[in-house]
Amino acid sequence: MIRLERRPAPSRFWSYMTPVLAVALTVVAGALLFWALGYPAGAALYQFFVTPVETGYMRAELLVKATPLVLIGVGLAIGFRAGVWNIGAEGQLLMGALGGGAVALAFWNEDVPGLIVLMMLAGAASGAAYAAIPALLKTRFNVNEILSSLMLTYVAGLIISIMIYGPLRDPQGYGFPQSRIFHPAATLSPILEGTRLHFGAVIALVAAGLAWLAMARSLFGFQVKVVGQAPQAARYAGFSQPRMVWIGMLLGGALAGLAGVIEVAGPVRQLNDSISPGYGFTAIIVAFLGRLHPVGVAIAGVVIAMSYIGGENAQIMVGMPLAVTGVFQGMLLFFLLGSDLLIRYRIRLRKPGVAARPAAEPVPAVAEPRVESA
């Protein structure tokens, strides 16, 4: 018999060990999967875990891929901590890309110094403004922000479509739905020769650092946590919940918008109908994988980016189809999130004979917390 038993307090040991355990389990299960399907397990695992960090170019790519995930994930994590469920970061990212991109296109043939800064401000403002809609609906009419923010994502996609089929379409683009290529002054040029690594990665890192400071060392961070964990107590302490909804949504929207404008100013360099391969949704996983902690989110963003790049490499070098690399990525997530169970619960193995006499057992699940709180 296997029984789960609640721990009196979350285990510090396991909160550091579960990621290690999860990776170990993924390696074992992945090796079995690859072996069963007839792929060389060692070579495949090498592609997933080593090649993404093997060369300078690949490490740079890892950061390029992680940048939007970390930026968005940090913003979402703060909101989630406060119990603000912004699921529409993808839409806020698109609106940020559009806002910043529109600024770039307004000066498409002019060398405007500092244009990139203006674009980023416009992008962050656009993302925040778009997130303000569900915030307003929530605080004014108590509309569930999960639904309104998610649905607005699809609206954002269509707004981008209208713009790139209409006013922002490249007049020299043979009618294809895309804008002009941005002027070099409106792009983030590589900060490492021969790679695509751009300044956005630095911004993401700074954002994660600032978020950590705010959450760990400020009254604001304390308020966020109290509102999220104990709304009643927060109200009693005079912390305004609607204010927290506004802050959570606007912050998440601004960072998603910033990620959007960085993506178009960096790797994409124009507006088109495929600015984001779902970064806004993947960032939700990143936020939870990072345990809603800014530093954790930064690490989780790199891990997820690694699994994507590893998946590509496995296709290229081992000839593994996408479906198999996708299953492997899924297993990694499953083990990472699933093993978190060990932080709050412990596994007890008991012989069937013992289990048959429950009356003889003490009831630690109730008793232990009392001891702890005493």
Binding site: Y165, G175, E263, S274, E312, Q315, I316, V318, G319, P321
Partner: protein
């Protein structure tokens, strides 16, 4: 699926040293969606397999599925770094990333489908699928009882408008009263929306459903409703054996084989190739037996004429919706006009979204 083990490489090296035969050309393919079992990417993968079958040991292939456009530059570069001497990118959105990587690797040949940028080592290719579209329209005109066809369209770009127009011209060549109703989806692939669009068009009286979207859903919906379906990409008769009138098929195997052979021979030059039925890049799937013999013969005659260039789907006079002649009698729509097509021909209902 190609795996190289050290032993195989060593063995190959010995063979090469012994016979002076060249190493196989490694050819990379970058796809924008999973291969699946029918449709756009499936056809490109069939082309890859046909090239392998034709050239045997002279080539070795590798592919990457579902590559997002932001990731394309890295994937293309990785393919080159892993030894590819020729890389095909099969969607419009790979154009800029491929041009970027191509500039960094002047000794590697790059081929991009459906775009317009070319350089010394980057060529462009696409199929003149509007030829097959016209033929499929003739079949539609022959079987439709209501004289109304429904068309499920993706995005209002010239390529799609051209497809709708060619289909309409073909349908009206058989039934001059025929009309075509269009629903725009703003998506290349969305089985749910495609099903709904098919049902809406059927409710409006359409008894033939044509499409410029990439799923089998319209064929399945047509089968369920007892009307005709004209698919695109692959032959999709297995999804609706009674409904599948024909399909507008892309064929890439011949082109891929030709390009790979040229790269091996050292004779490859970047080109802008826009090939039709004559070049073997597009065709219609086998017609449903319900298509009457006389129309079948007429379609075959048109097909032959398109192939040898003696006829053209946009042979004048072609009128637009207002009745104004856009292409004069005795002339045909030139490529510049076809590539920028932003108007409907007579017979298409509704307004083209802008």
């Amino acid at each position: 699926m190609h795996r190289t083990s050290c032993a195989a490489v060593a063995a190959a090296a010995i063979v090469v040293a012994g016979t002076a035969a060249a190493e196989p050309l490694k050819v990379g393919f970058v796809y924008n969606s999973p291969i699946g079992d029918s449709g756009w990417t499936y056809q490109h993968d069939q082309g890859r397999l046909a090239m392998e079958a034709a050239l045997g040991d002279a080539v070795e292939t590798v592919y990457v599925e579902s590559v997002a456009e932001n990731d394309a530059a890295r994937v293309i570069r990785q393919l080159v770094e892993s030894g590819c001497g020729l890389v095909f990118g099969t969607t419009f959105g790979f154009m800029n990333p491929m041009a970027e990587v191509a500039a960094a690797y002047p000794d590697v040949a790059f081929e991009h489908a459906t775009g317009y940028i070319t350089s010394d080592n980057m060529g462009v290719y696409h199929a003149r699928a509007y030829e097959a579209r016209y033929l499929s329209g003739m079949a539609a005109g022959a079987v439709s009882e209501t004289g109304i066809a429904g068309f499920i369209a993706s995005f209002p770009i010239p390529e799609v408008v051209r497809g709708i127009n060619a289909f309409t011209l073909g349908m009206r060549a058989v039934n001059p009263e025929a009309e075509v109703r269009v629903i725009w989806l703003s998506s290349w692939y969305d089985p749910g929306k495609e099903t709904e669009a098919a049902q809406a068009l059927i409710a409006q009286g359409a008894d033939v459903i044509s499409q410029f979207t990439d799923s089998a859903a319209p064929t399945i919906a047509a089968q369920a409703a007892g009307v005709w379906s004209i698919s695109v990409g692959s032959d999709r008769s297995s999804y609706g054996p009674d409904a599948h009138l024909t399909s507008v098929v892309y064929e890439w195997g011949g082109y891929y084989t030709e390009v790979a052979q040229q790269v091996i021979d050292g004779t490859w030059k970047s080109e802008n190739v826009w090939g039709g039925i004559g070049r073997g890049m597009t065709d219609i799937a086998p017609l449903h037996p319900a298509v009457p013999e006389d129309v079948r013969a007429a379609i075959e005659a048109k097909r032959a004429a398109f192939a040898d260039g003696s006829d053209h789907p946009f042979a004048g006079p072609v009128r637009d919706q207002s009745g104004a002649v856009r292409i004069e009698e005795g002339s045909v729509g030139d490529d510049a006009m076809l590539l920028g097509m932003d108007w409907y021909v007579e017979g298409v209902q509704g307004e083209l979204p802008r």
